[in-house]
């Protein structure tokens, strides 16, 4: 079996996720360049995960070593990271109900030893008053000031968010503290998602909750959030 490094879009200069190449009867799930793409292609009546000549495909990894099996490729890193929302609005807060919102981001990272996604920022703030962040994952409580996020599908306080969408080749997952349904927390600098090895496109949905008390000072609350993805190659 030949063992070479996986084929990726080595020339990807922009991390923007291009629209899926497709026609009414056929589409590419993840576009790739090269003589023999390892990426999945399919139509309603046809599916091919590999092209001609490939004896092995896929990633095998241990804590200190990994191989990507496939056809002719490059060992240049490829990272695509996109945050899909620039603003997240909760509307009006109320002591009697939990305010919710979602945003999403996507990660694709090849020829790597994985990636980590961290979140930096502040809870919503109005002047000198900041909504208290939940430092240890817990369920939402109305009437108690708290701000938290997670990256999984929830049923509390309502149907909110989605589990990570791995597409065809994604392997990333929400990180501890942010991976339990209906439990939320927020600590600036925390790792919120990670992948232990090369990963196809994974779409993460971040679910936000805000609870306020009757004494939460009135006014407009804002908070800046920075999402950072770091790959190791």
């Amino acid at each position: 079996m030949s063992v070479v490094v996986v084929c990726v879009v080595a020339g990807t200069a922009s991390a923007a996720f291009a629209d899926t190449l497709k026609s009414p009867n056929y589409q590419f799930e993840e576009s790739a360049l090269g003589g023999n793409s390892i990426l999945d292609t399919h139509s309603p009546d046809y599916q091919a995960s590999t092209s001609a000549g490939i004896l092995g495909i896929g990633n095998s990894a241990s804590p200190s070593f990994q191989i990507n099996a496939g056809n002719t490729t490059t060992n240049d890193p490829a990272l695509a990271f996109a945050v899909n929302s620039s603003s997240v609005s909760f509307g009006d807060f109320s002591p009697g109900s939990t305010a919710t919102a979602t945003s999403s981001f996507q990660v694709l990272d090849y020829t790597s030893y994985g990636y980590v996604v961290q979140i930096f920022g502040t809870a919503p703030t109005n002047g000198a008053h900041t909504i208290s962040a939940i430092t240890s994952a817990t369920t939402p409580h109305t009437g108690v000031e708290q701000f938290g996020i997670n990256l999984v599908a929830n049923t509390l306080p309502t149907s909110l968010g989605f589990n990570p969408d791995h597409g065809q080749f994604g392997v990333g997952s929400a990180y501890t503290g942010y991976n339990t349904s209906n439990n939320y927390q927020f600590n600036s600098g925390d790792t919120v998602a990670s992948a232990p090895k090369s990963s196809g496109q994974t779409t993460y949905t971040m679910s936000y909750i805000v609870d306020v008390s009757s004494l939460t000072p009135g006014g407009n609350y804002t908070g800046g959030q920075t999402i950072l993805c770091t790959g190791t190659y």
């Binding site: 990271f81 004494l215 950072l228």
Partner: protein, 373 residues
């Protein structure tokens, strides 16, 4: 003939040998640069910008392992829009010429930063042999590419020379990406609940303004030089104003035509036989009247979610005062701030002298609660 054949053979051998040497030299030149491993670029937050903010002035932290135990004099960081290729196009907006060297650690230290060429800063030091291993370098004050959600690459190369000349010893490329910043917004509606009436009761333990009773408040007895007439009213207040509320009492003293009862200009005990009209917000004793009138603010202030309290001049039992526009209460217990609902009871006293003209004395008092958000 034989000699000529030997000569041709020798020439052929030399040519072939030259080709072999040439090919070997070419190959050895191609493969001499070893792969830098375990490499990453972390975009760290700057003074005010998030690490991945497009166009943000941030810090770039490089971590990697150097595989070659050879002489090291310089390390170049070449920022490109592509991971590989002969041409390196500097990402739009990237600025490295203002960068400074932050932390450095690992198998090779003692560097200074040369940032004169935008997009290709390098570290330099006196050339010295290293042992293979991990190293970390932090570039402070790098301006990220200005396009959000853009991947960019940094080609890392080490050199024996101190100025990145010559062939690279080790190479490796890292990828990083700017990202759209997320702005969270939400609105906490400003709230104030305030009411006044003869009485206010609680519903489920919470003061309920819908229960406030309207109408005229009558004193408990006819005014007399020998006894103090009393009356009470109540008010309730709550707010989420960040700086809390203040309540003032507004209106004239008791009047009957052109006759008045004197408002108490300073806080004092009531004195029978004098003309005086006063108010306080306390639970008074029989020192003032029998039965005693008034109650303390309820629930009592605790400095956290109940901050309402009577103010100076109106906050001592059995002493009374009345000056229009005076502040009689606020939500500053434990510091000015919002407060859950509390009920204040205003106690009124009237004393009159024997010469007080007969008549019906009335006044309309207006309590104004002003929150500061």
């Amino acid at each position: 003939m034989l000699q000529k054949s030997k000569s041709i053979f020798l020439v052929a051998v030399l040519i072939l040998g030259g080709l072999v040497v040439g090919v070997f030299s070419s190959l050895s030149g191609h493969v001499s640069a070893a792969q830098i491993t375990s490499r990453s670029l972390t975009l760290q937050a700057g003074v005010s910008d998030g690490g991945s903010k497009a166009g943000g002035t941030v810090n770039h932290l490089f971590n990697f392992s150097l595989p070659s135990g050879t002489t090291l004099g310089s390390i170049q960081f070449e920022y490109c829009t592509t991971a590989a290729g002969v041409v390196c196009t500097t990402p739009a907006g990237l600025v490295t010429t203002a960068a400074t060297l932050g932390t450095q650690s690992g198998v090779a230290t003692g560097f200074t930063l040369v940032n004169t060429t935008n997009g290709t800063p390098y570290l330099t030091r006196a050339a010295n042999t290293i042992t293979p291993g991990a190293a970390t370098y932090q570039l402070l004050g790098v301006t990220n590419p200005t396009t959000a959600n853009q991947t960019f690459f940094v080609r890392i190369s080490t050199f024996a020379s101190i100025d990145t000349t010559g062939s690279a010893t080790d190479t490796g490329t890292v990828a990083a990406a700017t990202a759209t910043q997320i702005q969270l917004t939400g609105t906490m509606p400003e709230s104030l609940v305030f009411c006044a009436g003869a009485t206010i009761i609680t519903t489920g333990g919470v003061p309920d303004c819908s229960t406030a009773t309207p109408g005229t408040i009558l004193f408990n007895q006819l005014f007399s030089p020998t006894d103090t007439a009393t009356a009470t009213s109540q008010m309730a207040a709550s707010t989420n104003a960040g700086s809390g509320y203040a309540i003032t009492v507004n209106g004239p003293t008791l009047t009957s035509g052109g006759n008045t009862i004197v408002g108490m200009g300073s806080s004092a005990l009531g004195t029978r036989g004098l003309s005086e009209f006063g108010v306080n917000l306390k639970a008074n004793t029989t020192l003032t009247s029998t039965p005693a009138i008034g109650t303390e603010v309820a629930p009592a202030a605790n400095g956290t979610n109940y901050r309402g309290q009577a103010d100076t001049g109106y906050n001592v039992a059995d002493t009374f005062k009345f000056t229009t526009a005076d502040q009689v209460a606020d939500s500053a217990n434990g510091g000015a701030g919002g407060s859950d609902a509390q009920i204040f009871t205003a106690s009124y006293i009237v004393n009159v002298p024997g010469s007080q003209p007969a008549g019906t004395y009335t006044t309309t008092l207006t309590y104004i609660c002003t929150p500061t958000f």
